[in-house]
């Protein structure tokens, strides 16, 4: 008998623990942030005290050396750690280290840098250092975009000549924003290729690096550019200390923000952002996102079930209800897609907003499916592991079940997913996510440019000369106009080789010490450029 009581006690205790733990509801964060006792996060009250902002990162950038491959952890810290020749804002290229540039011919450009640039160790930055950085970047093989550079050479103290193998619209900005610039002297002096203690030209010097845990950057107050009008967002320094804390658990990011341990993060889940809406001491800033969720059909001639079966592709497209995906997988934080990419780019045609883009129509889908003559109605939908993608896949699975298509979900970790993307056998359908830092056409280029793939097709193995010529047309700097954009958009929509299923919206919850959030071209918070109200 006693044992029974004991057992019920256990259950009661557990239930209590649940309730107790979960009792922290949205109204709390305000007080909590004031009560916060953890020493690392306190902001000194004294008037001229140094100002500090703590940014939460969801993944570890690992090495912060200049010539590393891009990763989810790295994009968050990039502009605090390094400067580039240029930066893009709203799709427009602006000089950072670059003072001006000159087009010699279609594939040759001369880039002139300022003559007053010094790195944090006091080394003067010259054209030779830019050349060195680009050479190192190309050698490392970690910066794939640099593959389209034929040569880089310093032709005078402050002028560097770039020769390109090919150059399409937006590429110049992208290439000049791809490789961080460091001085040869500083790089060679570093024992670990700047992996933990980089010397760059930004206003922030790394003062503490705890591998896998945090990075602290302190304003040197000695930034080389003194003309404030020429300082781009990516180089601003509105705060004395920027600390990046690595918090890999998403619930912990929310807790950290609530407790005041961090002030802002890009990586909060949509659901948790709602907690901060209207909470005292916090604000939520909606920000446009430049990415889209994309659905690709495997059109490989041998193994792709969608190859030369337009009706099957369209049947799937009509069966999928974008709004349901936005409601379900993005918690309503998103818009329906209107083209292969996001509506926020400058070369997006507003007309498309009023046109149909495979609006859900079950009857039409069923009809097209019947006409397609497909007998094997089971498909494999490949996704990269993640809460959002899993939910999307589950919704699509249910939607396709309505027209009689059975979907099994193949869930792979990011590495495997990236590998299997390029193989025709592991998948029939795939959810991808893509965006660009400049133009919509560059989003198209990522998937549809057959030159990027050894198999000679597009990302999903489509072999279509017309698609390629239309893409090339739109990509050429001279022909990048409404007409060429519309031509590709309409053709892709007509052929339905893939379709965009949603474009997410990012809401950034942050402490009110940040009065205005500024993000870079990749949608990442740029802590130096934010406005503060300490």
């Amino acid at each position: 008998m006693k044992k029974k009581i004991a057992i019920s006690l256990v259950l009661a205790l557990m239930a209590l623990a649940c309730l107790g733990g979960c009792a922290a509801k949205p109204s709390e964060p305000a007080q909590a942030s004031q009560n916060q006792a953890a020493p690392a996060q306190t902001v000194e009250p004294a008037a001229p005290a140094e100002t500090k902002v703590v940014v939460g990162l969801a993944s570890d950038p690992q090495s912060i050396g200049p010539f590393q491959g891009m990763s989810a952890g790295r994009i968050g810290i990039l502009y605090t750690v390094y400067e580039f020749l240029v930066s893009t804002e709203g799709g427009e290229m602006h000089g950072v280290l670059m003072k001006d540039y000159e087009k010699i011919d279609d594939l040759t450009y001369n880039c002139e840098i300022y003559d007053i640039i010094y790195d944090q160790a006091g080394n003067h930055v010259t054209a030779a250092d830019v050349e060195y950085s680009y050479q190192m970047g190309m050698q490392s093989g970690n910066l794939p975009k640099l593959g389209s550079i034929a040569s880089v050479s310093a032709i005078s103290d402050y002028v560097i000549q770039f020769k390109f193998n090919e150059l399409s619209i937006g590429d110049l900005g992208a290439l000049w924003m791809e490789c961080p610039i460091v001085t040869k002297a500083a790089y060679e002096a570093s024992a670990d290729q700047m992996a933990t203690d980089p010397i760059s030209t930004t206003a922030f010097k790394c003062t503490e690096f705890v591998s896998g845990s945090k990075m602290v950057f302190t304003n040197t107050k000695n930034y080389w550019q003194t003309d404030a009008s020429k300082i781009r967002n990516t180089s601003k320094a509105n705060v004395d200390v920027i600390e990046f804390d690595i918090i890999t658990d998403s619930s912990q990011l929310t807790n950290a923000l609530k407790s005041g341990a961090i002030h802002v993060t890009n990586w909060l889940s949509d659901i948790d952002v709602q907690d901060f809406n209207g909470a005292a001491g916090f604000a939520v800033s909606p920000l446009p996102d430049n990415t889209s969720y994309l659905l690709l059909y495997n059109c490989d001639e041998q193994q792709g079930v969608f190859a030369s079966n337009l009706k099957f592709r369209q049947a799937i497209a009509y069966a999928i209800d974008n709004q349901q995906i936005i409601d379900g997988a993005l918690n309503g934080n998103g818009n329906t897609a209107k083209t292969w990419g996001n509506t926020n780019y400058s070369d997006f045609l507003p007309d498309w907003l009023n046109q149909d883009y495979y609006e859900a129509d079950i009857d039409k889908a069923k009809q097209l499916l019947a006409e397609s003559g497909v007998t094997d109605l089971s498909l494999r939908l490949m996704i990269a592991s993640g809460d959002t993608t899993t939910k999307m896949a589950t919704i699509i699975q249910a939607q396709l079940a309505q027209i009689g298509v059975t979907v099994s979900i193949s869930n792979f970790d990011a590495q495997l997913y990236n590998q299997y993307k390029n193989q025709p056998d592991p998948w029939d359908l795939m959810i991808d996510q893509g965006g660009s830092t400049s133009y919509l056409v560059n989003v198209w280029k990522l998937t549809w440019n057959n030159k990027a793939y050894v198999h000679g097709g597009t990302q999903n193995f489509v072999q279509d000369e017309k698609l390629q010529s239309l893409l090339e047309e739109a990509l050429t700097t001279d022909n990048h106009n409404d007409a060429s954009m519309d031509a590709f958009h309409q053709y892709l929509k007509e052929m339905c080789y893939g379709m965009a299923i949603a474009q997410p919206m990012t809401n950034i919850a942050h402490s009110q010490i940040i009065s205005k959030i500024v993000v870079d071209a990749r949608g990442q918070v740029t802590p130096g450029a934010c406005s503060y109200a300490f």
Partner: protein, 289 residues
């Protein structure tokens, strides 16, 4: 007149264990919970109030109510129905993989414990090797080598548990091996297999049972992390561990997504532990005296 046998209740050892067990209220409660859950798993398609895949976007994250007993999940699916149906995958995975790893552990542990010497040394060092490999890596390798699927998931989950079982068994066999009755059995030319099966194993059962009952819950939890690398049960088929880890993302705002699968796992672990403790007591008259 039943003169010859004054103790009519003296029956087979198995029946004795069963009789002692049946007198243990806690163990019987555990057994009842397990049977109830198994029944629920079998009858899930009939008794679940909603289709476990039915999404309802208006009801996303709905709190528990009469309509949705345990609330609805991130896609508006009925959590109660999903838990009911999920008990199939979770229970079978938990039980099967624990049994598999225990069986393998017993086989290896018996050989090791009984032969000792070089065999023991070599096999134990091999186990050191396996134990040094992170479980996740092992699971990825298995999924790569064999592909995903229910059976492979079970296999991936079992391998990590083998060394523990072997060590446990080896210890108790070592202490039994030198006892007189084993020597006696050897003297009368009992085969080694027979000695192992009929003399040593039954006497090493107590610690094994404890580890089995604890293992089942752990396995259900571990299964959740496997679905992340694409090895476990894939959606839309529900599974408790995956439900728990999916709910983790919204734990502070919608705790019911986490609490109910968590409670289910706890109850299973608890039930198996209650039964396991009872079984151990019932099989070990020494503890009873």
């Amino acid at each position: 007149m039943p003169k010859k046998d004054a103790r009519p209740k003296k029956d087979s050892p198995f029946a004795q264990v069963a009789r002692r067990l049946s007198k243990n209220n806690v163990a019987m409660a555990g057994l009842a919970i397990i049977l109830l859950l198994s029944l629920a798993a079998i009858l899930a398609p009939i008794i679940m109030p909603y289709d476990y895949t039915a999404m309802d976007m208006r009801n996303m994250y709905a709190k528990p109510s009469l309509e949705h007993l345990f609330g609805a999940d991130d896609l508006g699916r009925d959590i109660f129905s999903r838990l009911l149906y999920g008990s199939r995958a979770s229970l079978s995975m938990g039980i099967l993989s624990t049994l598999l790893s225990t069986a393998a552990g017993i086989a290896i542990g018996s050989v090791v414990g009984y032969y000792g010497g070089t065999v023991d040394n070599v096999i134990m060092r091999l186990l050191d090797i396996i134990q040094a490999i992170p479980g996740m890596l092992l699971a990825i390798a298995i999924s790569a080598a064999l592909g995903s699927g229910f059976l492979n998931t079970i296999l991936a989950l079992s391998i990590g548990g083998v060394p523990m079982t072997v060590r446990l068994l080896r210890g108790s066999i070592m202490s039994l091996r030198n006892l007189e009755y084993i020597e006696a059995a050897e003297k009368i030319n009992c085969s080694k297999l027979r000695i192992m099966l009929f003399h040593i194993l039954p006497n090493s059962l107590a610690p094994l049972i404890v580890s089995v009952t604890m293992g089942i819950g752990n396995t259900i939890l571990a299964a959740a992390s496997l679905s992340y690398i694409g090895l476990g049960i894939q959606p839309p088929t529900p599974e408790w561990g995956a439900m728990l880890s999916a709910g983790k993302a919204v734990i502070s705002k919608y705790p019911h997504l986490c609490i109910f699968p968590g409670l289910c796992i706890m109850i299973v672990v608890l039930a198996f532990n209650m039964l396991g403790d009872g079984l151990r007591d019932a099989m070990d008259p020494k503890l009873k005296s």
